[in-house]
């Protein structure tokens, strides 16, 4: 069953890649139109990074309520993957920024927000590193994750109001009215789904790996 989903996932992602380059048209209003294809990867990566954060927060709550170590492990892994995708999103974003706007970094609100969230992920992982006792580590990490969750909306609210946005509005528009060519939308959302599924797949693998490592360490004595 698992292998079926794995194959399905890879097929899906392969289709997305093909679609990104051949099926979807180029967004004309960009300076280097061909570079717009990066949106199919850059944006879903950012989405997945935040998905990871939400998932980690949910697992953290579950841990604090149930005190089941598996939830703590899930939360920790989620943040790890969230960091990975966040870094990828930032890098792809910077590349795109360089091509499109001429500079790697512009203090655009989304760039700033994702940088702030990267800081938070790294801090969370640093906290996990600093506590040896598993029960304490789980508790403290869960609390910190929730604290971050509570604080993040403020950042998202503030940053756009302070910095001037270079992010093209029509491309990622939160009000719902999307002025994108429908084919671009198709590939974009398909990619989003694919990346989300990829997140859960990697998450599942990594959780199992960590569980096995723990058991091996326990057996060693």
């Amino acid at each position: 069953m698992k292998t079926f989903f794995a194959w399905l996932l890879w097929l899906w992602l392969a289709l997305v890649i093909v679609g990104a380059f051949f099926y979807a048209p180029v967004a004309e209003h960009f300076r280097v139109p061909g570079s717009s294809r990066i949106v199919f990867f850059h944006v879903p990566m950012a989405w997945t990074s935040f998905l990871a954060f939400i998932a980690a927060a949910v697992w953290s709550v579950m841990y604090l309520v149930r005190r089941n170590p598996r939830h703590d492990r899930s939360a920790g892994v989620a943040i790890q993957i969230g960091l990975l995708f966040g870094v990828l999103a930032t890098v792809t974003g910077a590349v795109w920024a360089k091509i499109e706007w001429g500079a790697w970094w512009n203090w655009d609100p989304r760039q700033t927000s994702i940088l702030a969230s990267l800081l938070f992920y790294a801090a969370y992982l640093a906290l996990r590193q600093s506590v040896e006792e598993p029960e304490k580590r789980a508790r403290l990490a869960a609390v910190y994750a929730l604290l971050g969750l509570v604080v993040t909306p403020f950042l998202f609210w503030i940053v756009p109001r302070i910095t001037f946005s270079l992010h093209p509005d029509p491309v990622v528009n939160s009000s719902g009215k999307v002025e994108m060519d429908p084919r671009i939308q198709h590939v974009l959302y398909a990619s989003g789904l694919g990346f989300a599924a990829l997140f859960f797949w990697i998450h599942n693998l990594q959780c199992r790996l960590e569980a096995l490592a723990e058991r091996r360490a326990a057996l060693k004595e």
Binding site: A116, F120, V131, E132, R139, A142, G148, F154
Partner: protein, 214 residues
């Protein structure tokens, strides 16, 4: 709880000294780099509010974590865990940290204004931002201090953990301070800062028991 903290503190005067010393050293360094080297007015209004908050932030990071770290180090934490309800403990520590932060602000700000010749157009707004921002600093730091008190490498870890949490607060405070010095709020409102304060307080109260007790 609060009274006890102050009594202990009064007898040793450790935290106040550290805090004040750190704050003033930073202040002098900042002023020195800005003053003699000269910063023209337009740049001044943009940069100076930021530096004030950086001084406050770093002073807090230097002096505040002690509240919990010391309990663990002197092993009085056990007695506290057995006697106090988490909310009483948290509130007591928070109040103590608040007074520390406010004292710090009262001490540092006038000197800062003098040494940088920064003029404040709306003094009431300025004071309000210092109060609300200072509260946020204290509240956020208290909870994070509780977390790191039970971890290793406490000093550096505190900075690492608290800065992402305090970032929204700082951004808000700096923008509002800028507005206060220039006389124009510039689109960021004080209520949001107060909302942050409220949120962090509630979050602290709710999450602290999980941090303090197994």
């Amino acid at each position: 709880m609060f009274v006890k903290e102050w009594r202990c503190e009064y007898r040793t005067r450790y935290a106040l000294n550290t805090l004040a010393l750190f704050a003033f050293t930073t202040l002098v360094v900042v002023s020195f780099s800005l003053g003699p080297l000269g910063v023209d007015r337009s740049h001044g209004t943009a940069v100076l509010p930021v530096l004030l908050w950086i001084i406050l932030l770093f002073s807090v990071a230097a002096g505040l974590p002690r509240t919990f770290v010391q309990e663990e180090e002197t092993q009085t934490a056990m007695a506290l865990r057995l006697s106090a309800t988490p909310s009483a403990l948290f509130c007591g520590k928070l109040l103590y940290n608040l007074t520390l932060v406010f004292a710090l602000e009262v001490l540092v700000t006038p000197f800062y204004l003098m040494m940088t010749s920064l003029e404040v157009a709306s003094p009431w707004l300025f004071a309000a931002v210092l109060a609300a921002g200072g509260y946020g600093l204290a509240a956020g730091s208290t909870l994070v201090a509780a977390i790191i008190a039970q971890a290793r490498s406490k000093g550096t870890l505190f900075s690492v953990l608290s800065f992402p949490i305090l970032l929204p607060l700082l951004v808000l405070a700096v923008e509002l301070t800028r507005g206060a010095t220039a006389g124009d709020p510039g689109g960021v409102s004080l209520p949001v800062l107060l909302l942050y304060d409220a949120t962090i307080t509630v979050a602290g109260l709710m999450l602290f028991p999980a941090v303090w007790n197994p």
